[in-house]
Symmetry: C2
DNA sequence: CAAGCACTTTACGTTAACGTCAACCTCGTC
DNA sequence: GACGAGGTTGACGTTAACGTAAAGTGCTTG
């Protein structure tokens, strides 16, 4: 029974301080319903940087959050490259120079514009779906009455 | 000056009844800022079925709308296959049997669920962006005051 | 009539984002 | 000490969604 542990509630068996909770790659994978391969790939792409214990990768809260953000970005159609842009600049922020920061702000504005367009797209798409739905139901009603 | 013609307002030079307006592949391409190759590809994938005049493809309103819906679907992260599912079933609706119609309703519900999750994702993503934005601005302010 | 432009088909190339082995370590445990 | 359940690194395969180049058709314009 390899059922996915909710990525937000899960904290092991005993109530750990959650800040110090550690995860193996398999645990994370189950939590988010992705494969370990995917997680390793994200690391290779510079989106994650787990610590090592010997060979094994050890993930902490920060890594979990990053993965969560990454997957959310993906669901919204961002490429891993785009996601990395934001995530990495975010980390480099504290000691970032002004040029980098302004560049970050640009990127953010860009993403936001993207989101706004998606909102509108969703609105329109919903209407289309409603429309098709209505028609389909009517045709179904028609079928019911005949023959 | 190959500037994109707005895909919604454009109706040629003289006010055509718009319902009978015809388009070449290049016109459509410019309207939606895609390449002809893309449009041909969509046809090959069963998303468009323009009439032919000799060799050349002739597109009408219906085709334009389909393309519009297709691109919107894409911006929302749907695959061409998913888009085709809905679009083709929509066309097959009038004489569709009950089983097909119920299947269509399922698919629609599915897509809608997808959209709802995206809405939530957008909400969350917005907050993240706002957060990063704030921090970046603060760091910038800091830089301004020193040195 | 040659040139240019927009269109056509065919076919191979490319990129992103993983999947899928294979071959290997390293535990706890029976 | 064999074994199974996890983990590891290559390395090659795959799919979607086009890009790109080659070679040809058809109009109309200098």
């Amino acid at each position: 029974m390899t059922q996915p542990t909710s990525p937000d509630t899960a904290s092991g068996q005993d109530a750990l301080p959650r800040q110090h909770r550690q995860y193996t790659i398999g645990e994370l994978a189950r939590m988010f319903e992705v494969t370990p391969r995917t997680i390793r790939f994200y690391e290779q792409e510079g989106l994650l940087a787990p610590r090592r214990e010997g060979q094994k990768r050890i993930y902490h809260e920060k890594d979990r959050v990053r993965l969560k953000l990454t997957l959310r970005g993906k669901r919204l159609g961002f490429s891993l490259g785009e996601i990395r842009e934001v995530v990495m600049m975010y980390d480099a922020m504290p000691d970032g120079n002004a040029r980098q920061l302004r560049r970050l702000l640009e990127i953010l504005a860009d993403k936001r514009a993207n989101l706004e367009r998606q909102l509108e797209d969703i609105r329109l798409m919903r209407m289309e779906l409603d429309d098709v739905d209505h028609r389909a139901r009517e045709v179904l009603r028609g079928l019911g009455h005949e023959a």
